[in-house]
Amino acid sequence: MRFADARPDGRAVVYAHIQADPLVLSAAELLAAATTTQRLLARAAMNGESTDAATWRAMFPALFGPAAPGPDDPTRIRSEAILEVSLQVADRGEQARSQYRGAIVEALTERLVATRTGPVRRERRILFDGRPAEIHPYDVTVEGDAAGEAWDCKWGARGIKADVIHQLDDARRGAGEDEARLVVGLVVFDARRSCEVRMVRERGAVALEGLKLIGLESLDRLAGRKPA
């Protein structure tokens, strides 16, 4: 088993600009240290219609209500910052914000995994001798000497499709045949309940036991810590 750079294509060139956008990096940085409720705020606001911050503050009394931390509290400051960047993403328009959201989930995953292990890479393929190479790269990989990891990142549960599950399962089986250690999984910025519903319908003949699923509530597991 070995890792390799993805083949460059037009889509990747365009997408690289979004991945490097300061808004993506800022959102990922804020969300890496966020609570589950703050991440839920980001998910809702980045995918909403309203651009009025007051609407979103009303929706999350635990973050902004009378019993929430005060305006000078670091948690409250983070909540306000997350709301601000989320509304900036929402303001990009339907086509662009879809790409921004995907890039944010990837960047967030990279940060969380990097606090636990390394080296962490982006957009890499995994090659096995005697097996045809997969076309699509994995969003985030860990390329350690002793063990590897391959993560595909999705904004929502609806992004879990049969081809995604099959590619991860192929990598897992290829590693097994090479007697290499490889953890494969999906990171989805959505509720685990919705992800499970989707996976059961899309899995086909794939046994899901070998596939890790990290939902919005358990993102901190990527960093090796309990949810905040």
Partner: protein, 100 residues
């Protein structure tokens, strides 16, 4: 008018969810997924009503659920409505202090 109970908020959430599902059903290829989401999320929300229905709603929860249901009502794109079938219940559950 008496303060709302958790059961009242469960009812409002379910009505909002059904309206959203009606928008989402326009995507024929995702009919099964929309149906599955309805099955699991409505069961989760009803379970909260069964367990805590008579409790007064937590502070801010009624306004939160009115806000999230109103936001869901603004969504006319069926693809985004599918995404919100997962988001709306999470936000509503958080408002009443429940995990997803």
């Amino acid at each position: 008018m008496p303060p709302p109970t958790v059961a009242d908020l469960v009812e409002r959430t379910l009505l909002g969810f059904d309206a959203l599902a009606a928008t989402a059903e326009a995507v024929a290829d995702e009919w099964q997924y929309v149906t599955d989401l309805g099955t699991v999320w409505k069961a989760r929300i009803r379970a909260v009503g069964d367990a805590r229905g008579t409790e007064p709603a937590p502070a801010g929860a009624a306004a939160a659920i009115d806000a999230v249901v109103a936001e869901a009502g603004r969504i006319t794109d069926p693809h985004r409505a599918i995404d919100w079938l997962s988001t709306l219940p999470q936000v509503a559950l958080a408002a009443v202090g429940e995990p997803a």
